[in-house]
C-alpha cells in the first residue's frame, strides 16, 4: 500500500515537474507514425541559365516543402556511402526559357530506381514557386493518397501600430499580400470552403465589431452582419451555406447561425454566460464553441441546432479557441497558464487531451487542410508571430511575416493555393510503382 502511495506521489511529482518545464514538451498526436526517408537531389538546370532564377532556389523550396509536409524526412546529399534507409529519390530538371519555367519532376524508388512518378509543370517565371509546391504536393499524394499542403495559403492579421490589417500569404510565408488598409482592427479571418472568400471581424467604418466578407484575391469588403453589439468570430459551415458567429444583439454573447448572405438568424445558445468562438465539425453536424456557463471558459460541443450540449474536457481549468480537425477526429484548443495559453489536441469526444505546444502564449490554432499541421500565433520568441507545428517531436517552425507582429491565422482549404496559372502536363503516366 505504502509503496503504491509512494509511487503515485512520485508520479504526481513527475507530472508537476513536467508541467513546470513545459517550454518544450511536445507529443506526437498525428498518429502518422514515422516519416518516410526521402533523398532530394539538386535539380538539373538544363537550357538557359537565368541568373535571376537559379535552380538552387527551386531546390531549396522543393526540399523544404517535402520536409515540412510532415510525411517525409529529407536528405539532401549522400554522406559517404549511400544511406540504406532511403525509400525514394526525388529529382528533376529545371528549365528557364524566356519568360517561362518548366519543371520536370521525377520520383524513383530506391534502391531499384524505378520511376514511380514523372510529371511536367510549366509556369510564367513569376509563378515558379507555385509549380515547385505543386510537384511537392504530388509527391505527397503519391505516397499517402492525399495531396500535400505546400500549395495552400494562410490568412492572418498583422499589427500596424494600434491597428490590425488582414493579409494572406503562401503556407511557407512567401508572397504576402495585404488585403485591407483600413487603419482599423481586422480580426478572426475564416475561409469559405472553396477558398474564394474570407470572412473577418472588423471595426472599419467606426462603431463596434462587425462581420465582413471579401474575396481572398482582394477587393472591397461587404458587410455580412452589422447588428447592434458584437458581431464576431464568424465561420462558414463546411458546405458554405451558413455562417456560425457570435452576436450580442440580445444583450449577451450567443452563438447564431446565419445564411451565407448574413440573413435568417437562428440562435443556438441561450443563457446569461458568454458563448463564442464556434468551430464546425467537418460534417457540419456539430459545432465546438467556448462558454463560461460553468464559471470559467470551457470548450463545449453541440449539435448544429443547438441541442445535445456537452463539455469537451474536464481536466483543464480554462480552455478556449476550439478548432475541429478536417478529418473530424480531433479538436485543438488552448488552455490557460499563468501568463498565456498552451496548445492542446484531444479526440473529438474530449478524451486523450495532450499538450502539443507550451511556452509563451500560444493562441488561435487552426488546422491545415490535410490535418497534419496546426498554425497558431505565439509570443514564444518575443513578439507575436505565426508558427506551424507538425504535431510531432519537431520544434514549431516560425513563418516569416516580414518581422511584423502577426496573429489570428486561418489555413485556407486546398483549392485556394492555385494563385498562379500553371500548366501541368504529365510526360508519361506512372510506370507501375513498386512491386
Amino acid at each position: 500500500m505504502t509503496r503504491r502511495l509512494l509511487l503515485s506521489l512520485l508520479a504526481l511529482a513527475l507530472g508537476a515537474a513536467a508541467a513546470a518545464a513545459q517550454t518544450e514538451v511536445r507529443i506526437d498526436v498525428s498518429g502518422g507514425g514515422r516519416r518516410i526517408p526521402l533523398h532530394c537531389e539538386p535539380l538539373a538546370a538544363a537550357g538557359d541559365r537565368n541568373p535571376k532564377l537559379p535552380s538552387t532556389l527551386a531546390d531549396e523550396v522543393l526540399a523544404s516543402d517535402l520536409d515540412q509536409s510532415a510525411v517525409f524526412v529529407v536528405t539532401r546529399a549522400w554522406r559517404g556511402e549511400q544511406p540504406f534507409d532511403v525509400q525514394a529519390i526525388v529529382s528533376g530538371r529545371w528549365t528557364v526559357k524566356g519568360t517561362e519555367v518548366t519543371l520536370t519532376g521525377e520520383v524513383r524508388d530506391f534502391p531499384a530506381r524505378r520511376p514511380i512518378l514523372s510529371k511536367e509543370y510549366r509556369a510564367p517565371l513569376a509563378g515558379w514557386r507555385a509549380i515547385v509546391h505543386q510537384f511537392a504536393d504530388d509527391v505527397v499524394l503519391q505516397f499517402t493518397g492525399e495531396p500535400g499542403i505546400a500549395g495552400t495559403r494562410i490568412a492572418f492579421v498583422v499589427r500596424e501600430g494600434r491597428d490590425k490589417e488582414l493579409c494572406v500569404m503562401d503556407a511557407d510565408g512567401a508572397n504576402p499580400v495585404a488585403l485591407t488598409a483600413d487603419r482599423s482592427l481586422a480580426l478572426s479571418p475564416s475561409w469559405s470552403p472553396d477558398g474564394s472568400l474570407l470572412l473577418f471581424t472588423s471595426y472599419r467604418g467606426g462603431g463596434g465589431p462587425r462581420v465582413w466578407v471579401m474575396q481572398a484575391a482582394g477587393g472591397r469588403p461587404y458587410l455580412v452582419s452589422g447588428r447592434p453589439g458584437n458581431n464576431t468570430s464568424a465561420a462558414y459551415s463546411p458546405d458554405g451555406r451558413e455562417i456560425a458567429l457570435t452576436l450580442s444583439a440580445d444583450g449577451n454573447s450567443e452563438i447564431y447561425v446565419l445564411d451565407a448572405r448574413g440573413g435568417s438568424p437562428r440562435r443556438l445558445t441561450d443563457n446569461r454566460a458568454i458563448d463564442t468562438s464556434p468551430s464546425w465539425s467537418p460534417t457540419g453536424r456539430e459545432i465546438a464553441f467556448t462558454s463560461d456557463r460553468g464559471g470559467t471558459p470551457q470548450v463545449y460541443v453541440m449539435e448544429r441546432d443547438g441541442g445535445n450540449v456537452r463539455r469537451l474536457t474536464y481536466d483543464v481549468n480554462y480552455t478556449d479557441s476550439p478548432a475541429w480537425s478536417p478529418r473530424g477526429d480531433r479538436i485543438a484548443f488552448v488552455a490557460r497558464t499563468g501568463s498565456g495559453f498552451d496548445l492542446y489536441v484531444c479526440r473529438a469526444d474530449g478524451g486523450d487531451a495532450r499538450l502539443v505546444v507550451g511556452g509563451g502564449s500560444n493562441e488561435n490554432p487552426h488546422w491545415s487542410p490535410d490535418g497534419r499541421h496546426l498554425v497558431f500565433a505565439s509570443n514564444r520568441d518575443g513578439g507575436f508571430a505565426l508558427y506551424v507545428t507538425d504535431l510531432d517531436n519537431r520544434a514549431p517552425r516560425k513563418l516569416d511575416t516580414g518581422g511584423r507582429p502577426a496573429m489570428s491565422p486561418a489555413w485556407a482549404p486546398r483549392l485556394a493555393g492555385l494563385v498562379t496559372a500553371q500548366v501541368s502536363t504529365p510526360n508519361h503516366s506512372n510506370s507501375g510503382g513498386k512491386p
Binding site: 478572426s188 467604418g205 477587393g219 472591397r220 447588428r227
Partner: protein, 177 residues
C-alpha cells in the same frame, strides 16, 4: 417600433458608404481586376436597439465643458465583469457628472488584459461595458445617453506584461461622444 427602420437605414448607409470608400481607396493601390463578388449586403435587424454605429468626432471643450478625461474608468478583476467597490465609486462620480451635464452623451468602451483570447475578450469587454452602463442607468442616467463598444484586448492602455499593466487594461472606459 419606430426605431427599427432608422437603425436599418443607418447601418445600410454606413455599410454602403464604408464599402464604397474602401473600394475607392483600394482601386488606387491594387491592380488585380476583381469580378463582382457574390455576397451582397443583407441586413437583418433583430433587436430594436437605437445604436447608430458611426461615432461622431469628440465634442470639443468649447461646446461642452465636460471632456472624456473628466470621467473615471471602472476597473475589473481578471475574467470578471462584476463591479468592485472602487468601480462603483468611480461610476458614482461619472453619474454625477452626467446629471450635471444633461447635454453630454458617452460611449463606454470595454477593455480586457492580454491574458484571454481575442474572441473571448471581445465578449468579456462588452460585459464590462454593459455592467458599467447598467450601473449608470440604475443611478438615473437615461440609457439613450450611453452607448457601449467592446475592444477586447485590442486597445490596451498600458503596454506591459505584468499585473500592473493588466489591471490598467481591465476597464470600462467612458468617452464623451
Amino acid at each position: 417600433m419606430k426605431v427599427v427602420p432608422r437603425y436599418l437605414v443607418a447601418v445600410l448607409v454606413v455599410a454602403v458608404v464604408g464599402a464604397f470608400a474602401a473600394g475607392c481607396a483600394k482601386k488606387a493601390r491594387e491592380a488585380p481586376p476583381v469580378p463582382p463578388p457574390a455576397p451582397p449586403v443583407v441586413q437583418q435587424d433583430t433587436t430594436p436597439t437605437p445604436v447608430p454605429p458611426p461615432t461622431p468626432p469628440p465634442v470639443t471643450p468649447s461646446e461642452s465643458k465636460v471632456t472624456s478625461s473628466d470621467f473615471q474608468p471602472a476597473f475589473f478583476e481578471f475574467d470578471s465583469y462584476a463591479l468592485r467597490d472602487d468601480a462603483r465609486a468611480a461610476l458614482d462620480g461619472d453619474a454625477k457628472l452626467l446629471r450635471e451635464h444633461a447635454e453630454v452623451a458617452i460611449t463606454l468602451e470595454g477593455h480586457c488584459d492580454e491574458r484571454g483570447t481575442v474572441e473571448y475578450n471581445q465578449a468579456l469587454g462588452e460585459k464590462r461595458a454593459q455592467a458599467a452602463r447598467d450601473y449608470l442607468v440604475a443611478a438615473g442616467i437615461g440609457a439613450s445617453r450611453i452607448q457601449t463598444i467592446s475592444y477586447g484586448k485590442e486597445r490596451p492602455f498600458a503596454d506591459g506584461h505584468d499585473e500592473t499593466a493588466w489591471a490598467q487594461n481591465r476597464r470600462a472606459h467612458p468617452v464623451v461622444r
